[in-house]
């Protein structure tokens, strides 16, 4: 057995192995129990002592060289095989993932939370209250004249001469002031009812969101600042607000509040939101009429001032999301609801 031949043929065989199976066969052939090199190593003891050292050294060198080559080739082949396997496992990553069923929050709830969260950040407490309420809380204590159109049976749902389906969340103004001494910073959202003929901007049941602040030293300027903060949070940082005088029985002065259009360049060109006017009416507001304080204990109309505002949540949602008909919000058509997250 010629060590040099074993070495060179062995290295050739190792290099020629195309996969780990062939390499294992080569290993058995070169270094297995019956391999000539292994037999030669085993037979070293039979040699005369003076030849043993040199022969052993040569044979061990060959063995080490073959072992190193085997290890190197094996690492090489394993890497290639892993690579090939991973390449086989390649997926079309553009295929959809495993579907997860997910609920969709109602747009009224989403919009209401967005708005309420702004006011929570401004220090308001969010409360909820009954929808069937007294004529006292709905009209009388809110300074609404007996001739006011909103009291008419054509406009308001009555349960009895003393009970109505509240026409606004302003009932919570009285309820809150009755329950809490001043100062009060309260926001509320809930269902209201009006005997409107349904159309794309009116439904008999709708959702109102309202706020009330009563404290020392509050002015119309603070109302405007508060509503500007709200408008910018909800409609974008560049918004401005504009107050226009109006009339509500429970505020004096009363204003309607417009926000600069968030949908167009405000250059008078046609716009679905502002109709080219540049301003969009979003809510009604005003300074709390001092007459309201007469209906609650512990509120001094000379010391305290306050303001309140109210808005239709469906209207805000429709404005933001370009919904053409708010009646859709009460139909719960999943095809519609899924559009909004």
């Amino acid at each position: 057995m010629d060590p040099d031949t074993v070495r060179s043929e062995g290295l050739t065989a190792i290099a020629a192995a195309g996969d780990t199976t062939q390499l294992e066969q080569a290993r058995i052939a070169l270094l297995g129990r019956k391999a000539p090199l292994v037999l030669a190593l085993r037979e070293l003891g039979d040699l005369p002592p003076d030849q043993r050292g040199a022969r052993g050294k040569v044979l061990n060198e060959v063995r080490q060289a073959l072992e190193a080559a085997l290890a190197a080739r094996e690492a090489e082949l394993r890497a290639a095989e892993l690579d090939a396997r991973l390449r086989r496992d390649r997926l079309d990553v553009t295929l959809p993932g495993q579907p997860v069923r997910r609920g969709h929050a109602h747009l009224i709830e989403q919009t209401g939370r967005d708005i309420l969260d702004v006011f929570v950040g401004l220090g308001y407490r969010v409360s909820d209250g009954p929808e069937v309420d007294t004529v006292h809380n709905t009209f009388d204590a809110l300074n609404t004249p007996v001739t006011h159109p909103s009291r008419q049976w054509t406009d308001t749902f009555y349960v009895s001469p003393e009970l109505v389906l509240r026409t606004h969340t302003s009932t919570m103004q009285i309820r809150t002031m009755q329950a809490h001494p001043p100062p009060v910073y309260m926001a509320t959202m809930g269902r209201c009812y009006r005997r409107d003929t349904p159309d794309n901007t009116h439904t008999a049941v709708f959702t109102q969101l309202e706020g009330l602040a009563v404290d020392r030293g509050l002015s119309l300027a603070h109302l405007k600042g508060t509503l500007l903060s709200f408008a910018r949070e909800l409609f974008g940082a560049d918004r401005e607000v504009r107050l226009r005088p109006h009339y509500f029985p429970f505020t004096e002065p009363s204003v309607e509040v417009d926000v600069s259009c968030f949908n167009c360049a405000r250059d008078g060109s046609p716009c679905r939101v502002c109709r080219g006017e540049g301003w969009v009416e979003i809510l009604g507001a005003g300074m709390v009429d001092p007459a309201l304080f007469d209906h609650v204990e512990g509120y001094d109309a000379e010391l305290l001032t306050g303001y309140a505002w109210g808005m239709g949540v469906e209207r805000i949602a429709a404005l933001r999301h370009a919904i053409p008909d708010i009646r859709m919000l009460w139909e719960n058509d999943l095809r519609v609801m899924e559009q909004f997250g």
């Binding site: 407490r125 269902r191 719960n332």
Partner: protein
């Protein structure tokens, strides 16, 4: 309120462009809704006054005439005309070729049946002055040929339409809007329109009619004048034009005058044919119960004592403030007119209007409460027009019945309070200018409120509003309130509701919003027995329709309607929930209105197990325990119906109920008061489940089929004591291996101690106690 601009300019002059004025009014409380253009769109110089010089028959057309018309040019123009209501000498309105007509067509020189026509004589309708198209419009003979028509008539009118808030009936008039313009522009307001005509004759009003008020609470003031020798006929074009531009129809001169005064001053008046007034006496009284009257619109109306009428000796001749009776109407035969200028109580008129289902231009003003001091102003203007336009003789004397009229409040206005409330500085001079223009008078440091605002303005804050709105609330700065004490947050019930919504969204359900209204048929569709408390619903006294007459006592039926809609749209699986109030009659001041959560699964995968799994996940997430126990509900599948918690319900929908809702798919629901999901004050405390590992064991026990899982778990828990940390049923087997009428329940048991690792011996001892208890108390045997 529609305000023709030319009319407005009669009371206040301004150079401000109309669009800009509209913007200013919008910004000061009189909201401009629209500006519309009526009449001639452009080229007004081609519309001239003409005088017909000759009128001859057209040679080839019976219906046409050939005229020469002087329009102030050197030569008269030849115009072919189809009208027949004029002769040579008539003063007419002429439009020349090249002009654009109000309907958009451009007039050309033309040949009509071979004869050249170099212009056109116009009817009122062609100028959009009125609907009149019987013939051409005849102008008063004083007009000079060649004068541009626009100097004589408002042939090109812009009309501003305003939204008037319900507290400002004074602005339901051109003069009232003019007063706002005067304040906004700081411009002079003309004096009250109208000048008293001279009365004539030796008679006096007392010779013609007597009047008395029997219901002064409903009629604070009643005044009248009598006009003799009245010629009822058409109104002149200018009057028609103003009425039409303001949105009313022209009827006859007498009726038009009444309407004109209402539009000008905001005071509705009414004209009676005095010769038809029985006994020549007027009684302002409550109607008798069951008394009937046929109003001008031809409707017979049954009255009651809460309705005020203007009656003669025999019967009502008008429902006060609403509409006259047909029989007392002014007609072409009328020669003597009784003109009423009154003041009717707002609430009375409103109540009558509602009860009779009759709203008119008059009633919408009365119901807001009008100023009784308007009466003499209205009387003056109406009298002037009656004399000028109807050739009437004003009979000397005026009936004017009234008690104490409301006084004008004197109201203080502290500048510092104004500035405090608005957050803006004002000069005394500015305050005085604004209030002065609006008709307030300064008296010894206080302000005397004008009569037309006295009902609405009697406190300092009302004056603050006046100054702020006219001066411009757009000037108000933006400040944030100082509120250092206010801490924002959600009330516990609001927070819980949000949490419930979020948890259910996480289980895959979508949130719905369904109406609070329901119909009488709901109880039947839900198969509720006669004594079921859910039949006791709060009833709406004035529902829009029978399907909205009641308020819901349960929430889930609304979800069924939504399920049907989505299933019909092709959805195979519809899973919805809603949080909302139900209304339950109670002895309290208001009905009980608890907030509920209802959930529903329909279609693929829907069933008892799915809905219960959702309820369990919700309860676990909220940290509450919601026991479920079998309980029959009439609208649920009798074998799959349960009570959830204390008062909730859970189960599969009864097939007959599903059928009633048109749903073929499987449906399951739960509903429960949100209050039951309140965990209370305790927050969960940490238990050590990490340091000492648990011992897990499974057992399967064979039991009679009617032993519930809950009762098995109760026995296990009872027998195990505190080392048992959980026991959960994970498999159910029924079949030949366990025998008829029996089933096997497999239970995961987890044993754990907080202070040591349990030994097998300890765990086995507990397990043996469990097996023994199950055997002894439930007749269960361990399955091999």
């Amino acid at each position: 309120m529609r305000v023709p601009v030319s009319w407005l300019r009669e009371y206040v002059s301004f150079d401000t462009p109309v669009e800009e004025l509209g913007e200013l009014l919008s910004m000061t409380g009189t909201k401009l809704e629209a500006i519309s253009q009526r009449g001639v769109p452009a080229g007004e110089e081609l519309y001239l006054v003409g005088r017909v010089l000759t009128r001859e028959q057209h040679p080839d057309a019976d219906r046409l005439s050939v005229c020469t018309v002087d329009v102030g040019e050197q030569e008269p123009r030849q115009i072919v005309c189809g009208a027949s209501n004029f002769a040579a000498g008539a003063t007419v309105a002429v439009v020349l070729p090249g002009a654009t007509l109000p309907d958009g067509t451009v007039l050309r020189k033309a040949k009509l049946r071979g004869v050249e026509s170099d212009g056109m004589m116009l009817s009122e309708r062609e100028l959009e002055l009125s609907q009149e198209h019987e013939g051409i419009m005849l102008l008063s003979d004083g007009a000079v040929p060649g004068t541009t028509l626009s100097e004589v008539l408002p042939i090109a009118e812009r009309v501003m339409e305003f939204e008037i808030t319900s507290n400002r009936p004074d602005c339901l008039s051109v003069y009232g809007v003019a007063r706002e313009v005067s304040a906004v522009l700081d411009a002079d307001l003309a004096g009250w329109p109208g000048s008293e005509p001279a009365a004539a004759g030796d008679d006096s009003i007392a010779d013609h009619v007597s009047a008395r008020i029997e219901a002064p609470d409903m009629c604070p003031r009643w005044a009248a004048r009598v006009f003799a020798d009245v010629t009822v006929g058409p109104s002149p074009p200018w009057l028609k034009a103003r009425l039409v531009a303001a949105g009313m129809r022209s009827i006859s001169n007498v009726v038009d005058i009444s309407n004109y005064v209402m539009l000008a001053l905001g005071e509705p008046t009414h004209a009676f044919d005095l010769d038809l007034v029985a006994g020549r006496e007027i009684i302002v009284r409550r109607a008798a119960g069951g008394e009937t009257v046929v109003t001008l619109d031809g409707q017979q109306r049954t009255l009651d004592p809460d309705v005020l009428v203007i009656a003669d000796r025999d019967r009502p001749s008008a429902v006060a403030g609403l509409m006259g009776a047909e029989w007392s109407e002014v007609s072409e035969r009328t020669t003597t007119v009784l003109l009423e200028c009154a003041n009717f109580d707002g609430p009375t008129t409103q109540a009558s209007s509602t009860r009779l289902g009759l709203r008119t231009e008059g009633s919408t003003r009365w119901e807001k409460g009008l100023d009784p001091h308007l009466v003499p102003h209205a009387m003056t203007l109406a009298s002037q027009l009656m004399v000028e336009l109807c050739g009437a003789r004003l009979v000397p004397g005026t009936i004017d019945l009234h008690g104490d009229l409301p006084s004008q409040p004197l109201v203080p206005l502290r500048r510092e309070r104004l500035e405090h409330v608005i957050g803006l500085s004002y000069s005394e001079q500015r305050i005085g200018a604004v209030l002065g223009r609006l008709g307030y008078e300064s008296v010894d440091g206080r302000w005397r409120v004008p009569t037309w605002r006295a009902a609405d303005t009697w406190r300092e804050v009302d004056l603050i509003e006046e100054v702020a709105r006219i001066d411009g609330v757009w000037k108000v700065p933006t400040l944030m309130p100082p509120h250092a004490d206010a801490v924002g947050g959600l009330d516990p019930d609001v927070r819980l509701r949000r949490r419930v919504i979020d948890v259910l969204l996480g289980t895959g359900l979508s949130e719905a919003a369904t109406t609070t209204f329901c119909d009488e048929g709901l109880a039947g569709r839900l198969r509720l027995p006669a004594d079921d408390p859910r039949r006791r619903a709060v009833r709406v006294a004035n529902p829009v329709g029978a399907d909205q007459a009641l308020l819901r006592t349960v929430v889930f039926p609304g979800l069924l309607v939504s399920a049907r809609r989505n299933l019909d749209a092709g959805r195979e699986r519809v899973e919805l929930f809603e949080t909302g109030r139900v209304m339950l009659p109670s002895d309290g001041e208001i009905p009980l209105q608890p907030v509920r959560v209802a959930a529903m699964v329909a279609g693929d995968g829907a069933g008892f197990s799915r809905i219960k799994g959702i309820a369990e996940a919700m309860a676990a997430a909220l940290g509450v325990s919601l026991p479920v126990a079998a309980l029959d509900e009439p609208f649920l599948h009798p074998g799959r119906s349960a009570r959830l918690g204390e008062g909730g319900l859970l189960g599969e929908l009864h097939p007959l109920v599903a059928e009633a809702y048109g749903i073929e798919a499987a449906v399951a629901v739960f509903e429960i008061d949100l209050a039951e999901l309140e965990r209370g004050g305790d927050v969960p405390l940490y238990r050590d489940v990490v340091t000492y590992p648990p011992v897990r064991q499974d057992i399967a026990v064979v039991l009679d089929g009617d032993v519930t899982a809950d009762s098995l778990l109760a026995v296990i828990s009872d027998a195990a004591g505190e080392l048992l940390s959980s026991a959960e049923v994970f498999d159910v087997y029924e079949g030949p291996q366990v025998g008829e009428g029996r089933r096997s329940l497999a239970v995961h048991l987890v044993f754990q101690a907080g202070d040591r690792t349990l030994t097998d011996a300890e765990a086995n001892a507990v397990r043996e106690r469990i097996v023994a208890a199950v055997s002894e108390r439930l007749g269960g045997e361990l399955r091999a």
